[in-house]
C-alpha cells in the first residue's frame, strides 16, 4: 500500500534499488516464508536479517550464555529452513518462530547442557567457566556482569520455567498475550495470570533497587 503511494508521488522506477527496498520491507514474514517454500533463497536471507538479533537475544536470556544462544539460534533457523516445504500460514510467523525457539531453549535447559556449559548463577566467580568463555564476552555481557543487569538476570533466572519464559516473551520480545499463549500451549487467561505472578515476584526480588529510581 505504502509502496503504491510512494510510486504515485515520486518518479521511482521498479528497477530502482530504493523502490525495491521499500517493496521488500512491505512484504510480511509469512509471504517471505512462502517464497522460501517456493525455493527463493534470498527471501530466507531477508527473514534471517529481520529475526536474527531478536532470536539470539531471546535465547541469550533463556540460557544466559551468548555462545550457546548463538548456537541454538542457528539451530532454530536451520529448523525453519528444513520445515519450509511444510510451512502453512496458520498463525503469525513470529509465533511459529518463537514456538521453535522456546522448544529449542527448553530442550537445551532440560537436557542439562546449561548446567555443564554455563556459569552457575550462584557462583559468579566460577574459574572453570571463565576459562571456557575466555575472550568471547561481548561488551554487553561484560557490562551486565558488573551492573544492575546482573541482578535482573539473576531475579529472572530464579522464576519458575513457565513464568520466566512468559516474562521474556512479554517484556523483552514484546509478544502479545495471544502469541505467548500459543508458544506456551495455554490459554490467554493463564498467560495473564502467569505474568501477574511473575511481575509480583520480580518486584519483591528487586525491591532493593527500586529506591534509587
Amino acid at each position: 500500500m505504502e509502496a503504491v503511494a510512494v510510486g504515485a508521488r515520486s518518479p521511482l522506477l521498479k528497477t530502482d534499488p530504493a523502490y525495491r527496498a521499500r517493496v521488500a520491507d512491505a512484504v510480511d514474514d509469512a509471504q517471505l516464508m512462502l517464497l522460501v517454500k517456493a525455493g527463493d533463497e534470498a527471501s530466507f536471507a531477508r527473514l534471517l536479517a529481520r529475526h536474527r538479533d531478536p532470536i539470539v537475544s531471546f535465547l541469550y536470556r533463556m540460557v544466559q550464555n551468548a555462545a550457546i544462544a548463538e548456537e541454538l539460534a542457528q539451530d532454530v533457523f536451520l529448523r525453519v529452513y528444513r520445515a519450509r516445504e511444510k510451512y502453512e500460514v496458520s498463525a503469525k510467523f513470529t509465533t511459529w518462530l518463537y514456538c521453535i525457539a522456546t522448544n529449542v531453549a527448553l530442550n537445551h535447559i532440560r537436557d542439562g547442557k546449561r548446567a555443564r556449559n554455563t556459569e552457575p548463577l550462584d557462583d559468579p566467580d566460577n574459574s572453570v567457566h571463565r576459562t571456557l568463555r575466555s575472550t568471547d564476552l561481548t561488551a554487553e555481557e561484560q557490562m551486565v556482569e558488573n551492573s544492575l543487569g546482573w541482578e535482573v538476570r539473576n531475579a529472572i533466572a530464579e522464576l519458575p520455567e513457565n513464568q520466566r519464559t512468559a516474562v521474556i516473551l512479554h517484556k523483552y520480545q514484546e509478544l502479545e498475550y495471544r502469541q505467548i499463549a500459543a508458544v506456551l500451549g495455554c490459554s490467554d487467561s493463564a498467560v495473564k495470570s502467569l505474568l501477574f505472578r511473575a511481575y509480583e515476584s520480580l518486584r519483591g526480588r528487586l525491591a532493593h533497587l527500586a529506591g534509587g529510581r
Binding site: 536474527r52 539470539v56 537475544s57 536470556r61 554487553e140 538476570r153 495473564k192 495470570s193 501477574f196
Partner: protein, 174 residues
Amino acid sequence: MNCVGLETQAFEYLDGTLGGAERAALQSHLSVCNACSVRLREFSSGFGNLQAILDAWPSVPASRSFDGHLFAKIGAQSRGSIGWWNRFVAPFVALTSRPAFAGAFSAVLLAALTLIRFFPAVEDATSVNGSSAPSVVALDSSDEVALVQSLTDLDDMELLRNFEVLQEMKGPTP
C-alpha cells in the same frame, strides 16, 4: 468474581481496556476483598518502576559470523541428505529440463522409428542384388512359381485343417 480473577484481569483493568461488566464485577470484588485491593495497589504502583529496572538487562546481538556459519550448516545438511544415486542422476535430471534436450530426444526418436520402418526393405534389396550375405531365405524364380501354384491349395479348408499335409508342402520342391 473471586480472588483468582484478579490475576487474569489486572492488566486490562489497569490499562482501562477491561469490558464494562467485567470491570464492574472486579471493582465490586475489590470493595469487599482487602487482600486483593492491597495486592492490586502494590502491583500498580511498582509496575512502571519494575519495567525500568528490567530494561537494565541489555540484549545481545548476533555475531558477524552468524550468517556464514548458518549457511555452511545448511549447505552441509543439503549435501548430506542427498544419496549417491541422486547425486549420480542429478546432472541428467537437470539436462532434461532444457529445451535443447527435448529437441535432441525427439530427433533421436524420429531417426530410430525411421530405421525400424525401413530396415527390412533395405535387407531385401541387398539380398536380391546379392551384394551382401542375405539374412533371410531368398527365393529364385522357379520357387516363386511353385509357391504361387500351391497357394490354390490354401483354398481347401480341409487341407488347412490337416496339419500333416501342410508339413509335406514345406518339403523340398521337385
